[in-house]
Symmetry: C2
Subunit: 220 residues, 2 copies
């Protein structure tokens, strides 16, 4: 069985029962002129990991490891957007408003698309998620269990928000999760580092972390 040199200890997995889950690599969070930048965030930090996420995807695709992408977005009528989410932070631009890349966080709008460098090609599953966690109000758990997936490799943005929330949900559901350290990023570098530390603390209470190079070395 392949093993990844990881923190806090080696992570063993079978490719046939492992999925790569790439969280929210969508234009509005990553590209200049999008929602993320409109909120005052430095999106360059997130854009910088696109090549690493792409290398991770290419590694997985070439080894027939299943790939799932997520997008945070809402139905056009916003029926799946809690009023509390729309109000929060009293932003200048709210979910559903017209933004620089179409309506903010709405399915089908240009800003809600995954960045073109990462695909996704036909055959890869895309989950539209209304929450930060990809398991809430989606079919993700059913889809993974139908494919007998037990192990998840996680990547994407932002580390302490949607990635961490999804990893914690997955861990509660019994998945063995590894977060790829250089294939995830936050607008706040100190939050990324704290999240990695929280994940592998206490014997891996949420799971494992390892850099892309260690993932690649486990199954050349």
């Amino acid at each position: 069985m392949p093993e990844i040199r990881a923190r806090p200890y080696a992570y063993a997995f079978e490719p046939a029962t492992t999925a790569l889950v790439v969280i929210d690599m969508q234009r509005d969070f990553i590209e200049r002129g999008g929602f993320g930048e409109a909120l005052g965030n430095e999106v360059g930090r997130l854009a910088a990991i696109v090549p690493t996420v792409r290398a991770l995807l290419e590694w997985a695709r070439a080894r027939a490891i299943r790939v799932v992408h997520t997008r945070e977005g809402h139905r056009k009528d916003l029926a799946d957007c809690p009023p509390a989410k729309r109000r929060r932070g009293q932003p200048r631009l709210r979910i559903g408003d017209a933004g620089p890349m179409g309506r903010i966080l709405v399915d089908g709008e240009p800003g809600n698309e995954i960045v073109p460098e990462l695909g996704p090609p036909a055959g890869e599953t895309v989950i539209l998620k209304p929450g930060k966690g990809a398991f809430y109000a989606t079919a993700l758990d059913d889809i993974l269990k139908a494919q007998r997936i037990t192990h998840l490799l996680l990547a994407g943005v932002t580390t302490e928000v949607c990635v961490q929330t999804t990893m914690r949900e997955a861990n509660d559901r019994g998945y063995e999760c590894l977060l790829v350290e250089d294939a995830t990023e936050s607008y706040f570098p100190e939050f990324k580092q704290a999240t990695l530390a929280m994940v592998h603390a206490q014997g891996g209470i949420v799971g494992w972390t390892a850099p892309l190079a260690a993932v690649q070395a486990s199954l050349p």
Copy 2:
């Protein structure tokens, strides 16, 4: 409407639609000789917040704010314990094993009881939860929605594990959440501080935080 002076901005709530959720203040995590200490953690940090949590409970009880307690624990047959959870960290004592206060993290065992200083009295809801998040595989969301609860005050242990996971689940479900800063604690003080910062960052992306004194001052 009462308002709590909170970070990142004032938190308004109606007592009738607000619940206080106290996470996992159970003997095994908090008392000397329990599971937490057996794993090498310094439980004194957690025990130190018991009077603050008690003062928060007394404030809520006297104002007819509903109270929910959670306990992390499993059925006696461990049917609700994922194998991954039992294996994780290769511990000396596993969930279900005989520990210093009965079987580890099993419902009905002495170590799984809430510390006696906090009750709970008859009439307060206790949720047995198999995960870190209190919404996963429990009736918590149904119970809160049946009572028309929209706002949650959170307290308990540990901040970055069960409290944070539950708060993130609640936020995705549309609850307006405030974490009481001095009524939560972690075995790792730096993780507590990072979690508080992550919660109220970006305009309160997960919710609000405030000390007990600010909660009490909002509704004397």
